[in-house]
């Protein structure tokens, strides 16, 4: 299993490929080298054989010239006893062995149709006159080189005193020699073994070097990279690879580290986004809800205003009749009579209806304002002068703290007066005819915008928490039936919003209430 895995690894495949190529290459190299050497050695052997035959010829020349057969035989025997020479013979044309290193062969006749004679004597009686070299094997399975060299009839031969040979013969016989190639074979074999060993050592060294190089350059970085990827896949985005090479592996590691860093950054962004998403959605939802609520509120007020205008026109005419005829009727009854009191109730209730209509009309009027720079302190003074002499304010202490450097406000003075009167009247109702109403003006800065703030503070009963949310709603009132329409604050709120201002309330039940009216200060300084 492990071997199989190693074989499928990059290093394994590279090693296998390179190893196979080297093995094939080495084998071919080994084969051709050996063949070449063998060929060279054999060629040398053949050359040696020729020179050997020449040597035999020259050694026996004197014996031949003097026809000294004994000398020739002794010379042949002496030569034949040399190492590596198996056999030396001189054979006559008739096939008779004249001389031999093996004395037992002398006198024997060889068959012309059998080797070695058949090598030259063909079936048609034709002969060849050049040397023949052949290889065979001996009984010890060693190679043997056999050379057959012709002896030509030369002038000294047929002119010698013995007259043994006549001139007409072209060939006199052959010299046959057998040289053992055992040494040569041994040498070739030893060289083959040596070359094989060198090649194997070379292959081993190369393999070890390749293994080491591949291990360091490929396997280790790849396994590090794999480990890194597993760590990153497991969520460890802080992991960095340390492969400080300048090759492709180093580039890969750098790219990997960059990728991990990018991943970490992206993940963090996502996480942060996910964390803040809920808050963002909440904020947005709240803003939208507030805007929607405001839109609904102003649309409600606007449609109420339109309706009020229509209602006012329709209702006020019949009310005119009721009031007029009530007064006409009033004159017919003496003062103090029950009838007169009843009619007074009718007139009073008709007036109440009229007041409700007027309150409703406030909505219709809020939008038709003529704005000009106004000193709020002056408007407050005028408003206070109106209420100061009213019976309701006899036991109420009116305190003013006006800022003389108060900024001007671009506003419709009559609408502002309506708002301020409403605030003062509400405060008077809150203190129930007895207490203190403080009116404080000052310049304030909110959200980098200059505002003029007017505070109406009373020492009344305060507003309960459940009511404080409803006080700006039209028709909401805590006053007894007949006393309030529940429109004053709603109309005031509408006017303040129309001037780009804010109307806020702070109240502690039992301690009193403060209404804050804020208008943006006029940008043109007085």
């Amino acid at each position: 299993m492990r071997v199989e895995k190693s074989l499928h690894s990059l290093t394994g495949k590279l090693l296998l490929t390179i190893g196979t190529l080297m093995l094939v290459g080495s084998t071919l190299f080994w084969y051709f080298l050996l063949k070449h050497q063998e060929k060279e050695l054999l060629e040398n052997s053949v050359k040696y054989a020729y020179s050997f035959v020449d040597y035999v010829k020259k050694s026996t020349r004197y014996g031949m010239m003097t026809a000294n057969k004994l000398l020739i035989q002794q010379t042949i025997e002496a030569i034949g006893s040399s190492e590596g020479i198996r056999n030396v013979r001189i054979v006559e044309c008739t096939g008779r062995i004249d001389y031999s290193s093996n004395p037992a062969d002398v006198g024997k006749t060889l068959d012309k149709n059998r080797p070695p004679c058949s090598g030259c004597h063909g079936p048609a009686g034709k002969t060849r006159d050049s040397a023949i070299v052949s290889f065979s094997k001996d009984s010890d399975d060693m190679r043997v080189l056999k050379i057959i060299h012709p002896i030509y009839n030369e002038k000294p031969c047929y002119t010698a005193a013995c007259h043994f040979h006549t001139e007409d013969k072209k060939m006199l016989g052959i010299i046959e020699a057998e040289v053992s190639l055992a040494h040569l074979d041994m040498s070739i074999k030893n060289q083959g073994i040596a070359i094989t060993i060198y090649i194997l050592i070379f292959l081993f060294v190369i393999s070890v070097a390749l293994c080491t190089i591949l291990w360091n350059l490929v396997s280790t970085p790849v396994s590090l990279l794999k480990q890194g990827m597993e760590r990153v896949a497991g969520g460890d985005l802080d992991y960095t690879l340390t492969i400080n090479t300048r090759d492709e592996m180093g580039d890969l590691a750098n790219a990997f580290n960059a990728m991990t860093a990018d991943l970490k950054k992206a993940k963090n962004e996502l996480l942060e986004w996910g964390n803040t998403l809920e808050k963002k959605v909440d904020d947005k939802t709240r803003t939208i809800q507030m805007a929607q609520a405001q839109l609904i509120h102003s649309e409600k007020l606007a449609s109420l205003g339109r309706m009020a205008a229509g209602v006012a026109h329709e209702i006020n005419s019949p009310l005119t009749g009721i009031v007029t005829f009530g007064h006409l009727l009033l004159k017919r009854f003496p003062p103090g009579s029950q009838e007169r009191e009843d009619v007074e109730v009718i007139i009073e209730q008709a007036n109440r209806c009229s007041n409700i209509i007027k309150g409703l009309l406030g909505f219709a009027r809020a939008s038709a304002a003529e704005k000009a720079p106004v000193n709020i302190n002056d408007v407050l003074d005028r408003s206070l002068n109106i209420v100061r002499n009213k019976a309701d304010f006899f036991n109420i202490k009116l305190v003013t703290e006006f800022d003389d450097s108060l900024r001007r406000v671009k506003a419709d003075a009559s609408q502002l007066q309506q708002v301020f009167l409403n605030m003062i009247m509400n405060a008077a109702d809150a203190v129930e005819g007895k207490g203190t109403i403080s009116i404080i003006t000052k310049n304030v800065i909110e959200d980098n915008t200059e505002f003029v703030e007017i505070e109406f503070r009373d020492t009344g009963t305060g507003i309960s928490e459940e009511n404080i949310e409803k006080i700006f709603e039209p028709f909401f009132t805590t006053k007894p039936v007949g006393k309030g329409t529940g429109l004053g604050l709603a109309v005031s709120h509408g006017i303040v919003l129309d001037h780009g201002g804010k109307l806020l309330v702070k109240s502690k039940p039992g301690e009193g209430t403060s209404f804050f009216v804020k208008f943006p200060a006029d940008k043109e300084k007085p």
Binding site: A308, A309, A312, H313, E314, N316, S317, P318, L319, T320, G321, I322, V323, T324, F325, H327, L328, A350, N351, S354, I357, L361, A364, R365, A368, E370, S414
Partner: protein, 125 residues
């Protein structure tokens, strides 16, 4: 001899009746019509001291009546009666020469006071 001659133009019967019932006992001669057309017709025939006209009426509204009266009979004082008052119409009426501006529902005393002032104003002119 009446204190003065008053023309009331209003499409609402009850308002016309209220005016006549308030002003007749005070010694004024009161004529009632229910549209601007009828009013102009009567103004061509008779001479009036004061015209009381409603502001919002079909066909010809109070502002138009006021403008025409001030064109043709500038000596006639016009008092505008309105079901609902806006700053715009009030300013417009006064600019066009209306003597007063009465909000419905007016009281008999308020009406008498306004008419008396108008008569005084007319006399001093």
């Amino acid at each position: 001899m009446s204190k003065g001659k008053i023309l009331v133009i209003d499409d609402e019967d009850i308002v016309r009746t209220s005016c006549s019932r308030t002003l007749s006992p005070e010694g004024y001669e009161v004529k009632l019509v229910k549209s601007g057309f009828d009013g102009f017709k009567l103004l061509e025939e008779e001479q009036f001291d004061i015209v009381l006209t409603d502001l919002k009426m079909p066909e010809i509204d109070g502002i138009e009546i006021l403008r025409r009266i001030k064109e043709k009979w500038p000596e006639v004082e016009v008092i505008i009666i309105t079901g609902y008052q806006t700053v715009d119409t009030a300013v417009k009426s006064i600019k066009l020469g209306a003597f007063d501006y009465l909000e419905k529902p007016f009281t008999p005393d308020g009406l008498i006071s306004s008419v008396t002032k108008a008569m005084d104003h007319k006399k001093t002119d």
